[in-house]
Amino acid sequence: MEIKLQQNILAANDKIAVDLAKIFKDKGIYVINLMASPGAGKTSFILHTIEALKNKLSVAVIEGDIASKVDAEKVREHGVSTIQINTGGACHLDANMIRGALNFLNLDETDLIIIENVGNLVCPVEFDLGETVKVVILSVPEGDDKPLKYPRIFADSQVLIVNKMDLLDYTDFNVDGLKRTVNNLNPGINIFEISCKSADGIDNWISWLKDKTDKFLKLK
């Protein structure tokens, strides 16, 4: 006997993600799900964002790694609440892990949560975490062809950060070509060209983010 199901395989994760999104909305917390390859500059990007906003907003960071606390320690030195999740081999964070991590944060006094997902362009995008926005970083040395190879993450993110722009002259990276591909795949995506090394372009990202979080804070 055949039984038609049409059952979403990730329904269990998505259900928790919906619950999380409601918590974040009720508490007026803006949540960034930050995704990128290993070494694209996720942690440096987070540190710049914290430095620019920590006097204005109460920021917390959830660090996802397969192993180690290296990133969490770096972030904690900047004086923000940091929760480390070690996935123990899993290539992505899921909504249930985030739900667990929230027990360690004072949500009533948090304005912005940055979730650093596991370094990987494939898996993290499939698992919603209840985030307000998905942000993907692509760094110049990785090459401008990544959206062709890993389209889903570029299709589903609302923001693309192109990092390590200071290295542009040493590569064949075609910024216009990249933008064309990504804009076709995901019209309306916000693209910021930055360098975490020189801090060029960070201001544009911060003013975009500040604008978004201000709107959220008004809802509190």
Binding site: E2, I3, Q6, I9, L10, A11, E126, A155, N183, L185
Partner: protein, 111 residues
């Protein structure tokens, strides 16, 4: 790479459904996988074989149907299969994705 987690979910949904219907065995599991989901079907089949041991779904065949990436033009309404991520419509519009992100169990066959 996340096929392990995906397969765990598949198995738990399938077993819940089979138990609900007092099945003695699951023969087939049909899965729809969108082109954009980056799921490797062979891995799902392999993990399913391992994970389903000693369950009602042991020995079940996993059939994977790949759903191609398709988009519709918001200006003229035409629909096409997308190749090489070319979302430009002949009319000049930029097409929007309507299929290719599926990750679902479409049906199961039980005894």
């Amino acid at each position: 790479m996340h096929e392990m987690a995906i397969t765990e979910s598949i198995l738990s949904i399938v077993l819940a459904e089979a138990e609900k219907r007092d099945a003695t065995r699951v023969k087939t599991v049909k899965i729809e996988v969108g082109e954009l989901t980056n799921i490797v079907g062979d891995c799902v089949q392999f993990y399913f074989e391992l994970m389903s041991k000693d369950t009602l779904a042991s020995g079940a065949e996993v059939e994977i149907e790949e759903v191609p990436l398709q988009a519709r033009c918001p200006s003229c309404g035409s629909v096409k299969k997308i190749e090489n991520l070319d979302f430009l419509c002949e009319c000049g519009g930029v097409m929007k994705i309507i299929a290719g992100k599926e990750l679902a169990i479409s049906a199961i066959e039980i005894e």
